[in-house]
Amino acid sequence: MKFSDEFETRFAEMVPHYPTKRSALVPTLLYAQDEVGFLSDEVIVEIAGRLDLTELEVRNVISYYSMLTTKPRGKYNVQVCTNISCMVRGGEEILHHCAKKLGIGHKQTTADGMFTLEEVECIGACSWAPAAQVNYDFHENLTTEKMDRILDGYKKKGTQ
């Protein structure tokens, strides 16, 4: 199992920050997922080994956190917030618009592997609602037209 040098540097820095090895687990899983795309069996075995945990202990943690996934996702994970502040400003319309445009529903991935769509809980963009995150990038004060441009931009970027 090979991760990037950046991952290895961060991991080596992080582990001594804690009195117990497993404390590094949650951020390590997220960074590993960012590199591989999802938490594959291979990744789970590798991280469990590094942190002296059983595979089951790692899976038990993965299933708790909403950002962690053991299933492959599209290159761009479109996460639309529909929680209260976004809802009253049209967050649901944005979600439906994305679903229609991409032809997929909640937690589904387009056939070309480009996009996954997800309805998410509050992402901390309430005062700039409605909002969405594509991977880690925030997109705020959305309209359906703005969302079109954003998705088209990612599609272009992803096919280059």
Binding site: Y65, S85, V88, H96, C122, C126
Partner: protein, 437 residues
Amino acid sequence: MADLVSHSDEVRVVSRRFGMGATNIDRYLELDGYKAVQKALTMEPDAIVNEVKNSGLRGRGGAGFSTGMKWSFVPKQSAKPKYVLCNGDESEPGTCKDRLIFEHDPHSVIEGVMIAALAVGAKSGYIYIRGEYRYLSIIMQKAIKDAYAKGFAGKNIFGSGRDLDIYWHGGAGAYEVGEESALMESLEGKRGVPRIRPPFPAVVGLWGGPTVINNAETLANVPHIILGGADWYAKLGTPKNGGTRLFCLSGNIAKPGVYELPMGYNLKKMIYDVGGGIPNGRQLKAVVPGGSSCPVLKADEVDVAMDFDSVAKAGSMLGSGGVVVIDEAQCIVKFALRTMKFYQHESCGWCIPCREGTDWLKKTLIRFHKGGGVMKDIDNMQYLAENMLGRTFCPLGDAAAMPTIGFVKKFRKEFEDHLDGKPCPYEKSAEPVEVMA
């Protein structure tokens, strides 16, 4: 990233350095940065605690507990190492203030953690940032590195002979982890399931050591209190509610944004003057005054001072500072449903009243909103919610129950208007939303 706003009534303390390039450590130093921690190094720990106590600073995460009091619970002697843990797992719907602090003034959080550590005798501090805030985690990692490079953190800080380590930590998506005991579990690499108390974290916390846990905004206030003095800070607010607060105005309001206003600022004025009122010629229907877990206030209940005690007296909570404004075109049943969907999704499932209660309430509200409700459901919802109160390990059960009780009690008519198979009379869009349900 996120747009900044301003209003003439603002009193800038924690937001003083917003938009001034203070992520850069040299700029931060020009703006009085790291002066407070150097002052704290010359003070006795008890004097730091007393200063914070006297300032009237209360927890900005939502509970509003006296910060100085919390610090004073940490035992002086401890066989195990003591810790300071900054809670930056901001995820209460309606709240987006810690994000701005991390984005614009990360060193103020580091400095706050350091002062807290000096006050309680801790040698390590952790800054936990929610996983979705990746760009802020990157900003914080750099800020910490810069502080180490200057000799402000690590061994022999500021040449004082004292050691103090500061670390960052990232989450991976979980509202529940914002609860302090679940936060510690998460930092220890586990599922974010709450711990039973007592013992309280101040006695048995991270890895079994005494731990102070404070919200990021709370800690960002601390350096200003040490420099400006407890009296100055206390006088900014109302009695027993010191200082200012970052209020996150969102929802159906003309000028949404994060505004720093004195504690006790009138909510009506906040909505109509600061926030510019309700757009599109509509009327105000209701306000959630402090994040989704706070009981709703009706339009005729908003003439209230926004401090912890006054909002509590008005039957709600100041909470996390998330002011969600709801106009007349919104359906309260749907609003209640969306709130409950959130809590059902985020309940960790550890305690039965919360796990089952949120699920039943969500199912009932979905059915009800579609027109499949019966009169008995209305009382049942209230009964169910009331029976969740105080019966769970952590406050998530209460956080789900309290707003539900408020919606049912204060907007009973809107619930009744959904009876007898009628389509939602308040719904704007014709298309029902079923994606997540």
